[in-house]
Symmetry: C2
Subunit: 252 residues, 2 copies
């Protein structure tokens, strides 16, 4: 009993130290992200259009990550193409490492550069998987359109598509495929307590991807229902996004 106090002190010291160790460890990944973020040289290679590059630009912007927004002409791209691993853009070059495929890039940006961890919820595996699935769902929605726009790239000979055939395909996609897919997203948004697709408190990369696609590819094909217009507006009203679009406009 004479040793009770020192023991008790040692226990307090040990418990505090364990807590500090654990806290340091929990903070380490966030800290690592901040370090990575400060040091990284980041360049996005894409055409001077919205397309698949825009959601990446918005993600980098919302993460507060400085980047070189390199916009290539189609001629420049043809020269670059053989040097790119899969012959495709968007390509994000981070400290010399080339990243490909827009969803894979978005997932990386959300994890590597966003100190708030909201763009990609990597800690919650089921939620992260939902964000992934939503991004793939957006890609699925565009398959028909992608194929009739870039026929030969997907094995559809250009010569096959008479103007009449192209028109029929376009109409079927717009009137049948598109509304079915939009219905999924409208339901997601209606069921979300926060107005974002995955029910997160702030937008994820899936929200950015869908908003960009709705604003261009989809809106060009058919008028958007009110709920989706409001969703696009919510993304483009985020202060950082607004500032980015203004700077982009000013640079024209």
């Amino acid at each position: 009993r004479g040793r009770r106090m020192p023991d008790s002190n040692a226990r307090v010291v040990a418990a505090t130290a364990v807590a500090l160790g654990a806290a340091a460890c929990v903070l380490a990944s966030r800290w690592a992200r901040c370090v990575l973020r400060r040091r990284a040289s980041v360049e996005l290679l894409y055409f001077n259009i919205s397309g698949l590059g825009e959601p990446i630009r918005l993600a980098l912007t919302l993460a507060g990550q400085p980047f070189v927004d390199r916009r290539v002409s189609f001629d420049e791209f043809q020269q670059l193409k053989p040097t790119l691993r899969f012959g495709q853009v968007p390509c994000l070059v981070v400290d010399g490492v080339e990243l490909f495929q827009s969803a894979a890039i978005l997932r990386y940006v959300g994890q590597a550069f966003d100190p708030s961890g909201t763009l990609y919820p990597r800690r919650d595996l089921a939620l992260a998987s939902k964000v992934d699935a939503l991004m793939d769902q957006v890609a699925d929605m565009l398959v028909g359109r992608k194929v009739y726009k870039y026929k030969s790239r997907f094995g559809f000979p250009d010569a096959l598509f008479t103007p009449e055939l192209t028109q029929t395909v376009e109409r079927t996609w717009r009137d049948e495929t598109l509304p079915r897919h939009l219905g999924f997203f409208i339901r997601c948004l209606a069921e979300s307590p926060t107005g974002w697709l995955a029910g997160t408190r702030a937008p994820t990369v899936a929200d950015l991807l869908l908003a960009c696609v709705l604003r261009t590819d989809v809106a060009n094909a058919a008028p958007l229902p009110q709920s989706l217009l409001a969703f696009v507006d919510a993304v483009y009203s985020l202060p950082a996004v607004k500032a980015f679009k203004q700077a982009e406009e000013a640079a024209r």
Copy 2:
């Protein structure tokens, strides 16, 4: 100076405790995976074909995660369809939570159930992004085929595709699109020091996806080059995969 020993002891205790705290924290995520893995009720819903379900079956098998391999007929699927969030299978139900889209499911399986962490390298963000991009690349390869096989689902009216047109599209995909995409994967494998797509010491979910797709969709359309045959064989020779395929065969 009289208090030196106790102080020193306290320091040793504190240092040890910090180390223990940090170690406990590092081990926590692995431990969490093991707990999740033991407790989880996992059911895979898919047709009794290889398709998009097979890589998920192989991933669960390689992770050592027990699962109900529920194979539905096309009639059963039509009844289930309205109850599924996006009207699609594969669907992985983990403790009542439904996960969708095969790549999103694969990513989840690799992270939630694989104690070795090799199926999906989540700790290395650039490597994980490469695995993601490779999976999207596999999906891109199949777009043309998917569209001419499930025309109306992507906005191509069935009536449009005369047998002659279908044949032309099939031939163009097989002779032009497919070899270009296969070339990317052949190069990846040739450059890999380990024989796996992303250069990892063991296969990732991208290897499983590519092997399954090559073995069925691609091999049904065109003969595989030797290097890809060897790659498929490497995946299907993994002891756990071999045992799974034997059990599947025996259950027929």
